[in-house]
């Protein structure tokens, strides 16, 4: 059965037995302000395009030739950008389309939305919850106001606490906090404080990412641009970065969080189903500007430009090597992968085990503790 990039014809898959769980990613590329480290598909000052964009988005959902498969749609993820910038009526539109057109079962699906503190008040959070959105992922990044400034965030720590309380009041029972470490000039003690503050809020899920400073972002100019000799900010040393990661792993585990993916921790049972589907190389469909899809062994993505997206442009196919991708994605999960998935890569696995980066535990090949820190040395063997 084939499902390449949707070509706006409705070709129905013939083999109806091959149903697999399906995730849906919906990209909302609008922000009030672009953050200093942001290298994602998001734009500030284009709010006037929101209506046209949502119209096109709903159209894309309608036109997808994957309709029949969607009865197994079990996760939806609104990512951004800042999805909470949208008025709730747009979510109502999208979700009712999914229910009608793709038979979304609100009771049994994980429906996540990303949110930035201060971009929605209690009333809006309540409205989102009442539409069936049941998981909220808050872009906290840091509780330290100085570092929030460096990152170019529009909120301060007080906004975070208020927003978190509002979210709980609105009935969100599955909340994730995103935290970033290895911020320029950040000390280990400051990071420890961030982790402790996060734990005190008792979130259900925590993601801790180390900051990637990408070329072309303002933060790059502040830290790494070779044409600038006196940096305003100092990049964290690799030693400190490792100590920060180590601290997060130890402390979160001691507080009952399950470390299930390199950067992800959760209360048992609160692992993010939508993301698990990525790491397990399930099928997912991405709609909206810059969204990526992976269905039946094929990958493609939409244009990153909002204008182009609205006016209609065909998706770009991506070369995909299923087997290798499944290995480097799957190894991000701490449970690893069954050893038999590595046939053809025995030599690589042996070398990596010799280096102490991989181990075989009861027939599953997984990252060692050391491997968690040096994952790229493992993953690069599978590209």
């Amino acid at each position: 059965m084939t499902a390449g990039p949707p070509d706006h014809r409705t070709s129905r898959p013939k083999d109806l037995k091959a149903y697999k769980p399906m995730g849906l990613y919906i990209h909302i590329p609008f922000c009030k302000k672009k953050c200093n480290y942001c290298d994602f598909v998001s734009y500030a000052g284009k709010e006037d395009m929101i209506d046209g964009y949502i119209e096109k988005l709903i159209n894309e959902i309608h036109c997808s030739d994957l309709g029949l498969r969607i009865s197994d749609l079990n996760t939806v993820f609104f990512g951004g950008g800042t999805p909470t910038l949208l008025p709730p009526k747009h979510f109502e539109n999208i979700i009712s389309t999914l229910i009608r057109h793709w038979k979304l079962d609100i009771g049994h699906s994980e429906i996540s939305i990303e949110a930035n503190p201060g971009t929605a008040d209690l009333a809006r959070l309540k409205a989102l919850r009442s539409l069936g959105i049941n998981r909220l992922s808050i872009g906290v990044q840091s509780f330290n106001d100085r570092h929030l400034k460096t990152l170019g965030r529009i909120h301060d720590s007080n906004d975070i606490f208020r927003f978190y309380d509002d979210a709980r009041s609105a009935g969100f029972e599955n909340i994730n906090l995103d935290l970033i470490f290895a911020l320029p000039g950040q000390t280990l003690d400051e990071w420890k404080k961030d982790i402790e503050t996060a734990i005190n809020l008792k979130p259900d899920h925590l993601s801790t990412y180390s900051l990637q400073i990408e070329e072309g972002t303002p933060l790059w100019d502040m830290t790494k641009n070779e044409r600038i000799t006196h940096y305003a900010l100092r990049v964290t040393s690799e030693e400190t970065e490792a100590a920060m990661f180590e601290y997060a792993i130890e402390t979160l585990a001691a507080n009952g969080y399950h470390h299930y993916e390199i950067s992800n921790f959760s209360r048992p049972g609160f692992e993010c189903r939508h993301n698990l589907n990525y790491w397990k190389m399930g099928d997912w469909l991405g709609v909206g500007a810059g969204a990526h899809s992976h269905v039946d062994g094929k990958r493609w993505s939409n244009t990153e430009k909002i204008e182009e997206y609205i006016h209609g442009s065909s998706p770009t196919p991506h070369a995909s090597e299923q087997k290798k991708e499944a290995l480097f994605m799957g190894l991000r999960l701490l449970e690893g992968l069954p050893a038999e998935k590595f046939d053809g890569f025995e030599a690589e696995v042996e070398d990596l085990m010799k280096d102490g980066l991989l181990e075989n535990e009861k027939g599953r090949v997984k990252l060692t503790r050391r491997g968690l820190f040096l994952g790229n040395l493992v993953f690069e063997k599978f590209v």
Binding site: Y209, E238, H292, R332, F373
Partner: protein
């Protein structure tokens, strides 16, 4: 052609003083080239020459003007190629000495002018670029008087760019440059002053007939190498080759003789007839001796044959380039290459990379050391890694240069400091005018080939210029310094240093290597040692964290690209033992003085 109507001349100048533009203007003015055919700087044909603004290979072109035949013989403008300059000048009776009106006399003005004077050429002094707003022709007139004793009234004021003074220059060439002396009746003697390899025609030698008449279809002999060939085609040079049935005494032209590479028709050699040979060759022939050596290694060992082929092709056209295969324990199979100087080295490296698409590792350049062993035998060594055991060495000698530096007087202090730091021995100082000075030093070649020129430029804000000539070998207290990475010696990083500077350089090199080596899974000790004694040590810490952040919105492609980039980066490095060494590490050795 009536020999009385022939004028053979060169243009000599310091780099950037406008030589190529002047040549263009002369060709245009004499109608040799139509204006619309004119590509700027016609004589520089190699891309690299255009880009670097220097003339690497000499060429010649014939102009006709007022019934005269004017042969312009172009000369390379860089000190590395001074032997080629001297051969070009040997083919002339006159030289246009071009001096920039704002820069004044520079090191290569002087060096080239002395070469011309030594060849008894008539000098026509020209102050060029007088149209520039910062031109100071009066000052340059004083310098010309002080340095060469040239009178004001003999100097032509010109601007090649604006076409000022061109007619005057052409008149001076006809009136002042004497016609060639020589006899059509004497046995053939023709000087090869340049040659180049053409894919279709083989080697094209540029010649100046000194005596006799050259005709095609006869057997000729290269007197230096003693080999015979047939003169297949001869002719004169305009923008292309113009075949002729004879070239008489005094004429300049080309010779195609089935020679397959330029080493068989060496610059400076004399061509004569095999049957009625001249009694002796023309004076001044020298086999070319490379002065600077370095190892070129393909990063990818599978490229060895490709590199060999590329060097062979480059050598067809570059008689000064030498190479032989060499093996390094660290780098595998590669080539030990010999060059006239550092610029020559850089040009060859660039051509290998650019024209032949090779990724290569170049080891630090070395000079040829003379080792006097305890058994009194002598050995010449151009590679630090083949240095004999210290107990077998009685003494070591290294090549020295006479270095001439021209500078505004305010930078004298800094230049003295630099030269003495580079083991230079101060020899003398002369004022050209109240503000400009000529300094001379004896200095080891090994100190000049690294980054001396850059340092000289930076300590004089770009105003100082330099030139040098080889003066011979002198004893020095030298030792071989080895580098060990993760306890393993890396032969390609060994260098020869002066004993007094060994500690300082060892420390500096270890620090630089620490900077450029990537982190590995393990700690990498970096040691500098002399014999078994470690004189400096640094440690590159182990890699602590290297893992990708989240897969945003299922974008696997982005993740793959990052991993692929990381993998590619490793491939471009050379694995030595268990350590991945980037090209910058080998370059680090070069930059030890700053």
């Amino acid at each position: 052609m009536d020999i009385e109507k022939i004028r053979n001349f060169s243009i000599i100048a310091h780099i950037d003083h406008g030589k190529s533009t002047m040549a263009d203007r002369l060709l245009e003015y004499t109608g040799t080239i139509e204006k619309r055919q004119m590509r700027e700087q016609v004589l520089d044909t190699m891309d690299l020459e255009r880009e670097r603004g220097i003339t690497i290979k000499a060429q010649a072109i014939r102009m006709e003007y007022q019934g005269y035949e004017l042969n312009l013989i172009d000369t390379p403008g860089h000190v590395d190629f001074s032997y080629e300059v001297s051969r070009s000048l040997a083919a002339c009776e006159g030289a246009l000495l071009l001096v920039d009106a704002s820069q004044g006399i520079e090191a290569q003005t002087l060096a080239n002018a002395y070469l011309a004077i030594n060849h008894n050429l008539v000098i026509i002094p020209i102050i060029n670029k007088i149209d520039l707003p910062n031109a100071e022709p009066e000052k340059v007139l004083i310098e010309l008087k002080n340095v060469f004793g040239i009178d004001k009234e003999d100097v032509i004021m010109a601007s090649a760019k604006e076409g000022i003074g061109i007619a005057e220059i052409l008149d001076a060439i006809i009136k002042k440059v004497p016609p060639p002396k020589g006899s059509n009746d004497a046995p053939l003697q023709a000087l090869i002053f340049d040659s180049h390899y053409d894919v279709y025609r083989g080697v094209i030698a540029y010649i100046r007939v000194v005596n006799g008449i050259m005709r095609p279809g006869t057997e000729i002999r290269m007197m230096g190498s003693g080999t015979d060939y047939e003169a297949i085609e001869i002719g004169t040079l305009k923008l292309g080759l113009q075949p002729k049935t004879e070239l008489g005494s005094g004429e300049v032209g080309y010779l195609i003789s089935g020679v397959r590479n330029v080493r068989e028709s060496r610059v400076g050699d004399t061509v004569t007839y095999s049957r009625n040979p001249a009694e002796s060759a023309l004076p001044g022939y020298q086999p070319i001796k490379p002065m600077v050596f370095c190892g070129f290694y393909p990063v990818n060992s599978g490229d060895f044959e490709h590199m060999k082929d590329a060097l062979l092709k480059l050598q067809l056209n570059d008689a000064a380039l030498t190479y032989e295969t060499e093996t390094s324990a660290a780098l595998g199979f590669g080539f030990r290459c010999g060059f006239l100087g550092l610029l020559h080295l850089e040009i060859v490296q660039e051509r290998l990379e650019r024209e032949y698409g090779l990724d290569l590792v170049a080891t630090a350049p070395s000079v040829v050391y003379k080792i006097i062993k305890t058994d009194k035998s002598e050995e010449l060594i151009d590679n630090p890694s083949s240095f004999p055991n210290p107990v077998e060495i009685e003494s070591i000698e290294e090549p020295f240069l006479k270095l001439t530096v021209f500078t505004p007087s305010e930078y004298v202090g800094k230049i003295m400091e630099l030269s003495i730091d580079k083991r230079g021995e101060f020899k003398g100082m002369e004022y050209l005018d109240p503000t400009r000075v000529m300094l001379t030093f004896d200095i080891p070649l090994s100190e000049v080939i690294s980054e001396f020129h850059d340092l000289l430029k930076s300590c004089s804000r770009g105003y100082a210029s330099m030139d040098y000539e080889f003066i011979g070998y002198k004893p020095s207290d030298l030792v071989k310094m080895d580098i060990l990475l993760n306890q393993e010696p890396v032969d390609a990083l060994s260098i020869i240093v002066h004993r007094e500077k060994a500690y300082y350089k060892g420390k500096l090199l270890a620090e630089k290597l620490k900077e450029v080596l990537p982190r590995h899974q393990f700690e990498v000790p970096i040691q500098a040692s002399i014999g078994n004694k470690v004189i400096a040590r640094e440690t590159k810490p182990a890699m602590r964290k290297n893992v990708l952040a989240k897969c945003y919105g299922g974008d696997i492609t982005r993740k793959r690209k990052l991993l692929e980039k990381q993998k590619e980066g490793k491939k471009r490095m050379k694995r030595i033992g268990s350590v991945d060494v980037p090209q910058e590490a080998f370059m680090a050795v070069l930059k030890l003085g700053s």
